[in-house]
């Protein structure tokens, strides 16, 4: 591995990825090796780990101390929360959401996966695909992480046997494909010995694919935007009202999906008013076209009422607005979510009052079976919900857009983030959920 040089660095791209693995699958070792072998662990950090390990009577440095940052985590030797780590190679920069693998931390995996473009699922080669592996695959599928890597670890403990790897890879790929995971890349590794993590393994010459790092460096980070529905949630209205800019009125936001061009006919939702884009400012510089995840300011040809919370979309490709949200959710708070719960729903830049009308089913992640009408969802539960909102929302299906198809529920009394939501159908709801009669007898 070469060290980073200055030239060409800013042209590199950014990959956000997450790890998922059970407690003893060697996740810390893999993360430690990626950081260490990409020279991202610096001398003083290693010294701190060595000092702490020695202070606790351990022989060698405990690499888990690199990643367990909180006092309680070190005391208990467990990881209690998502941590974000950073490393770089000359080809790409990486943000790693390092998520705890424990069963009760499903919400942390969901958190990590929500922004990830790739998930590494670790499997112990001696155990093969186990319940926890299926759970990890299901969450990656549910969150629609575009790329899944199956890292079959501890190959050194099964004699580097190709047949062992092939059987696990085949079983996992079949399962993940059934869940709708678009791409699986299986790699046989030994995180401890360093096989196929950063350097190709001399012990597995039967394997012709990339190492984990090579794959992370080369996996495509963006989809073809031509097929995406363009969406711009309005965050803030910029009105300088100065002598230099007396009439400037710009709608600032981060493009959530697709591309926008000057001249595009657009509709502002939920009002439904239409106009044309007369200009796009990319952080102070006028451009003709802008695309996903760029933060821009859009100028409109007509002086219509647009404010924070509105969504600007192409007139020919506007989503329907609705007050009835059907979604798959992961409950992330300690207090349960119940039918009748009055909540706030944040979608894009808009926060509206809402009420949980029904919880038709809860998903059992182990076998993907549905438990009908559970009555409530507790922490880490994944289930289907029906929510009525006080105002209409322009919702996309999460399958079409991770940004405009997602929302969070918030407890209005203390602001707690309750639930992560994904709009529309998913593998968790093979049967369409039918609408019940509207109950108009509630208000806030």
């Amino acid at each position: 591995m070469s060290t980073i040089t200055t030239e060409g660095l800013s042209a590199t791209t950014l990959l956000r990825f997450a790890t998922a693995g059970s407690v003893d699958d060697g996740k810390s070792t893999l993360v430690g090796r990626l950081l260490h072998d990409s020279k991202s662990v610096l001398t003083d950090q290693l010294e701190a780990v060595e000092r702490a390990s020695a202070g606790r009577g351990q022989d060698g440095p405990d690499l888990a101390l690199l990643t367990d940052g909180l006092r309680a985590e070190r005391e208990q030797g467990i990881t209690i929360d998502v941590a974000y780590r950073y490393f770089a190679t000359p080809r790409r920069r990486f943000i790693l959401a390092d998520t705890p693998g424990h069963v009760q931390y499903t919400r942390n995996m969901v958190t990590g996966a929500s922004t990830a473009e790739l998930t590494v699922v670790l499997v112990d080669a001696r155990n093969g695909v186990v319940e926890q592996t299926r759970r990890h695959a299901a969450i990656a599928a549910l969150l629609r992480v575009p790329h899944v890597v199956l890292a079959v670890n501890k190959m050194d403990l099964v004699g580097y046997e190709e047949a062992v790897f092939a059987a696990i890879a085949e079983e996992f790929t079949a399962y993940a494909t059934e869940l709708g995971v678009p791409e699986v890349t299986a790699i046989p590794i030994s995180a401890l010995a360093g096989d196929n993590v950063v350097e190709p393994s001399a012990n597995m010459d039967w394997y012709g694919g990339p190492t984990v790092l090579e794959h992370l460096e080369t996996v495509p980070v963006s989809h073809d935007l031509a097929h995406c529905h363009a969406r711009l949630p309005v965050q803030y209205v910029i009105r300088p009202q100065t002598a230099e800019h007396p009439d400037y009125r710009g709608y600032a936001g981060q493009i959530a999906a697709g591309t926008f061009r000057v001249g595009d006919p657009v509709t502002v939702l939920p009002s439904g008013r239409t106009t044309t884009i007369s200009g796009i400012d990319l952080l102070g510089r006028p451009v003709d076209v802008a695309w996903t995840t760029q933060s821009v300011t859009v100028l409109l040809a007509d002086d219509i009422d647009v404010s924070r919370g509105d969504l600007i979309v192409p007139t020919k490709d506007a989503p329907a607005t609705t007050q009835d949200v059907e979604a798959t959710v992961c409950h992330v708070a300690d207090e349960p979510l119940t039918v009748g719960h009055r909540v706030l729903l944040k979608h894009g830049t808009r926060t509206v009052k809402a009420i949980v009308k029904d919880i038709p089913s809860r998903l059992t992640l182990d076998d993907l079976s549905l438990h009908p009408h559970p009555g409530q969802l507790v922490a880490n539960d994944i289930g289907r919900v029906k929510i009525r909102t006080a105002e209409p929302l322009p919702l996309d299906s999460y399958a079409d857009s991770r940004r405009t198809g997602s929302f969070i529920l918030i407890d209005p009394s203390d602001g707690t983030t309750l639930t992560a939501g994904m709009v529309g159908e998913s593998f968790a709801a093979p049967e369409p959920v039918t609408d019940e009669a509207d109950d108009d007898g509630w208000d806030f």
């Binding site: 060290t3 660095l9 800013s10 042209a11 590199t12 610096l42 990643t67 367990d68 940052g69 909180l70 006092r71 209690i80 998502v82 941590a83 974000y84 780590r85 950073y86 790409r92 920069r93 942390n108 958190t111 929500s114 922004t115 575009p146 085949e170 790929t173 494909t177 791409e183 890349t185 790699i187 990339p210 495509p220 963006s222 073809d224 935007l225 965050q235 803030y236 910029i238 300088p240 009202q241 100065t242 600032a252 400012d281 952080l283 102070g284 995840t293 760029q294 933060s295 924070r308 706030l344 944040k346 979608h347 830049t349 940004r403 997602s406 969070i408 918030i410 203390d414 707690t416 983030t417």
Partner: protein
């Protein structure tokens, strides 16, 4: 390698943003969310490179309008004069409002006591939190980055603080997608870290790309320093050198800017941004490990200070 239903093999899409563009766009999104959802935000501004980058991002986020936030500097009383000069010049140039919370005031009034080791970093917490309360700031931007320290690696972008400004890592809200939750009760506030996902190298590369001016102490210069605790500290009225410590003139620069009593200089001949970036890219020390004495006080020094309300 087993690949099924490949989405798109090969090179990156032409629509892929460079890593600096992606980080910039994300930070701007965070600034605008705060502007849209809070009543009275403030940017912590020390004149250090992270806060300078924050201000630059805020200027871009609201252009051509003015930044809709004021600035807050926690003045330890042991600041580098070059940094204070820079601070005042930037504030004037952009027509910004600067609040100052002064550690020296608290010491003079007898509310805070000088520590035996002379460092004033831990003394910043009280002036900071009282200023937040008295001015009723509800969102406080900090330049903290998760790569700085392992307790920071656990920090959310929107970090809820109670009425005592305390951070409770076990009560953090999960942060999903880019849907930041800024709800807070009266008296509580939210610390916001738009540079969470940046590394030290990203900050320097961005400064170079954008041509951002920095205080001169970030570049190699001759300075009278003395060694304490393995670091080169600037001689001065704050309390150094003591008996047995000898001053010498060395070619140094700073990687971070903080209280003079605990911010060390590094040997360097990097006089340009390119030279600084080349130096950092091959450095085997983190910025805090190289130059911050206070983080070495204990294994959980940063976590403990953060819990009390430190940024």
């Amino acid at each position: 390698m087993t690949t099924v239903a490949s989405v798109q093999e090969g090179t990156d899409s032409p629509y892929a943003l460079s890593h600096l563009d992606a980080l910039e766009s994300e930070a701007v999104h965070i600034f605008r969310e705060v502007a849209g959802e809070f009543e009275k935000p403030v940017i912590l501004f020390s004149g250090g490179k992270d806060s300078i980058v924050m201000l630059h991002l805020a200027l871009k986020a609201f252009a051509p309008a003015a930044v809709p936030f004021s600035l807050l500097h926690v003045d330890t009383g042991h600041n580098f004069p070059e940094v204070l000069e820079y601070r005042d010049r930037v504030v004037a140039a952009h027509g910004l409002r600067l609040h100052v919370a002064s550690v020296q005031d608290y010491i003079d009034r007898g509310v805070l006591k000088e520590r035996a080791d002379g460092t004033r970093n831990p003394l910043q917490t009280l002036p900071l939190t009282e200023k937040i309360q008295s001015e009723k700031f509800d969102a406080v931007f900090g330049g903290g980055r998760r790569d700085e320290e392992k307790a920071r690696a656990k920090e959310r972008v929107f970090s809820l603080r109670d009425e005592f400004s305390q951070w409770d890592p076990r009560r953090q809200r999960p942060e999903l997608w880019n849907l930041y939750n800024g709800r807070h009760a009266p008296g509580e506030h939210v610390r916001v870290f738009p540079l969470s996902n940046w590394t030290e190298l990203d900050v320097w590369q961005y400064i170079a790309r954008e041509g951002i001016e920095l205080p001169e102490i970030y570049f190699a210069h001759e300075r009278e320093v003395f060694q304490r605790g393995g670091m080169w500290l600037t001689a001065g009225e704050w309390g150094g050198p003591k008996d047995g410590e000898s001053v010498e003139k060395r070619l140094v620069r700073y990687r971070t800017v903080g209280d003079m009593s605990c911010t060390g200089a590094v040997d360097s001949d990097a006089t340009t941004l390119d030279a600084v970036i080349a130096e950092i890219a091959v450095s085997r020390l983190t910025e805090r490990g190289a130059t911050r004495a206070d983080d070495k006080l204990s294994e959980a020094a940063m976590e403990d200070r953060k819990r009390e309300g430190y940024f």
